[in-house]
């Protein structure tokens, strides 16, 4: 039986279990037709549930512990990956990974947040919450890429920059701010993909680029629904409402003009079929890269300034 079943997936799993149960008797009883009916029913149910997810349900899918993470994508879509470590100032942050890779014939620098899959690896990865040295490593790698005219891909998947004592001592805010400034003038193409959670400044710290893409079941906003609930409602119980109010899904952000494209996920989420997801992602990334390659570096930087300059709604 599948582990990590989300509440809204239970009807599907119940039905699937029933089918499995019936299969055991298939040899003895003539129930093939009945199984077929149930299978159709389960497909219909999946379609109904997964195509009509609420915003909060999408947040849950974005956090699904079986989703592919940055290193999974790197291993699935690139060859000859060489991971590069350290910010050359303090240490190597394990919540952000990066390195050189070949994707088809293109050389790229890939950088992304990295979560762990179990307690041990999550502690190692600090649950995907970077410290300042993570952002500084990312910047070092981006400058390296710029030096050798290599495009940059970043993958965003973090519950936020780490709110710890040492992080503040070492200048979490300064590290993120500097990345925003430097990424906005980096003279190589940058493609951003939100592959899971895009929580606030911790995500944006590696999130400025020429194209911003979101996988279908991910979220990106200024705050998590839980923290928003605790601040504005003064209780943790309004996370569903907060998610609705924040309008933080890929569809919302496309409509808001903040992202450029939604990358479809396999039915039920990226974790249902890692390879299918990776293939789709690879195709889109190469497509976007090819269109950016034609643009001169100065124009690229100018476009980037204008792209983010347009974001915002006000009454003049």
């Amino acid at each position: 039986m599948a582990k990590n079943v989300l509440d809204f997936e239970k009807p599907i799993v119940d039905l699937e279990n029933k089918i499995d149960e019936m299969r055991k008797y298939e040899g003895h009883l003539d129930i093939a037709d009945e199984i077929k009916v149930l299978e159709e029913k389960v497909n219909q149910l999946k379609y109904n549930i997964y195509e009509n997810l609420t915003r909060w349900q999408k947040v849950q899918l974005a956090r699904h512990p079986e989703r592919p993470y940055t290193l999974d994508y790197i291993y699935m879509i690139t060859e000859n990956f060489i991971e590069l470590h350290g910010d050359r100032l303090f240490k190597d942050d394990h919540a952000i990974v990066g390195g050189l890779a070949k994707i088809d014939y293109a050389k790229v620098m890939i950088i992304g947040h990295q979560k762990g899959r179990d307690t041990k690896s999550n502690l190692f990865r600090n649950f995907g919450m970077p410290n300042p040295e993570g952002y500084r490593k990312a910047l070092r790698l981006m400058k390296l890429a710029e030096k050798f005219n290599i495009p940059v891909f970043t993958m965003l998947d973090t519950p936020g920059a780490y709110p710890g004592l040492e992080a503040e001592e070492r200048g979490q805010a300064e590290a993120i701010a500097k990345n925003l400034l430097e990424m906005s003038r980096l003279k190589v193409p940058i493609i951003i993909t939100i592959i899971g959670e895009g929580a606030s400044g911790g995500a944006l710290g590696i999130g400025i680029g020429d194209r911003v893409l979101m996988l279908q079941n991910t979220w990106y906003s200024v705050i998590s629904p839980e923290s928003c609930s605790s601040i504005l409602w003064r209780s943790w119980d309004y996370k569903e409402q907060a998610a609705e109010s924040l309008k933080l899904t890929a569809e919302d952000l496309l409509e808001q003009g903040i992202i450029d494209r939604i990358i479809p996920e396999p039915l039920g989420g990226a974790h249902k079929d890692h390879h299918l997801m990776a293939d789709t992602l690879k195709k889109v990334l190469l497509e976007e890269l090819n269109s950016l390659r034609k643009i001169k570096p100065e124009k690229l930087v100018q476009n980037r300034l204008e792209k983010f300059g347009k974001m915002g709604v006000y009454v003049d």
Binding site: A161, I176, L181, K247
Partner: protein, 281 residues
């Protein structure tokens, strides 16, 4: 047995109560001194006894930083557009309107151009009194535009920050103001134009993690709270009380993240000296 038990034992209660005397008097939050408001104003809203810097708004900063009648405000009427039609316990629209009425401000920032000891500068100053000085589309756009003014006129830029961070009620739009303002500052820097960032109490969250920390020179008022995460969040994360003076100006100076701390009485002078050093003429 107590009815309520603190779940984390190392954490002490949230805040102390302050009772303000009525009318014409203010109480110093630091030393408890009772000060007449007129005296406070003459002293640039600092406690005459302990030098505690009272939190003040953009109008007050403008009044003592700029040469008399030299400041001209820009984009005065810009207001939030409520892009998400956001609603929590209140509608954001209503919150905005109520705050405008109460504060007399249109959003959490004023921008413009003025002269500091005869030297022209583009200027922005935030107001904590407007939804915690939070940065939404209006703050981002007004800062972007004033950086453009500095860029076009080739004049220096001074920003006084005072903010709880990005404004939740505008969701990802608020987040993108960090990107927008930082990108403009990159262009400003490439044109070799100076940017002086002044941090006041408090400067946290998305504002610290964008323009506030991007100054060529970063200065802070004494004892201002400056950080990325708020102290309450950090305390919850690490499960114990924070050291005395943590995330205060003096702590940032010690850790190398600001250039110096300035007493409010010397702010204008220090700014004018810096502008002189960076002036290319």
């Amino acid at each position: 047995m107590a009815w309520f038990k603190r779940s984390k034992e190392n954490i002490s209660p949230e805040s102390r109560k302050t009772d303000l005397p009525d009318g014409q008097w203010s109480k110093c939050e630091d030393c408890g001194e009772i000060i007449h408001n007129k005296q406070l104003e003459v002293n640039l809203w600092m406690c005459p006894k302990c030098q505690y810097h009272f939190r003040i708004g953009s109008d007050q900063y403008i009044s003592f930083i700029f040469d008399k009648n030299s400041f001209k405000e820009y984009d005065k009427k810009m207001r939030s557009g409520d892009p998400l039609e956001f609603e929590d316990t209140k509608r954001y629209k209503d919150r905005i309107n109520a705050t405008i009425k109460k504060s007399g401000l249109n959003d959490a920032i004023k921008t413009g151009v003025g002269k500091i000891e005869g030297q022209k500068a583009a200027f922005a100053c935030m107001d904590f009194g407007f939804i915690g000085g939070s940065m939404g589309s209006v703050v981002g756009e007004k800062i972007a535009r004033i950086i453009d003014v500095a860029y076009e006129d080739k004049i220096p830029l001074v920003i006084i920050s005072q903010s709880g961070g990005a404004r939740m009620m505008e969701g990802a739009f608020s987040l993108m103001q960090m990107a927008k303002t930082s990108a403009r500052l990159a262009r400003h820097a490439d044109a070799k134009l100076p940017f002086i960032s002044v941090l006041t109490d408090p400067t946290t969250g998305g504002v610290t993690a964008s323009y506030a920390m991007l100054g060529d020179v970063i200065i802070a008022e004494p004892k201002a709270l400056i950080g990325f995460a708020g102290p309450r969040v950090i305390r919850q994360t690490i499960g114990r009380d924070l050291p005395e003076g943590f995330q205060r100006s003096e702590f940032l100076l010690e850790n190398g993240f600001i250039d110096f701390i300035v007493n409010r009485k010397q702010l204008k002078e220090k700014l004018s000296h810096l502008l002189f050093y960076f002036n290319s003429n």
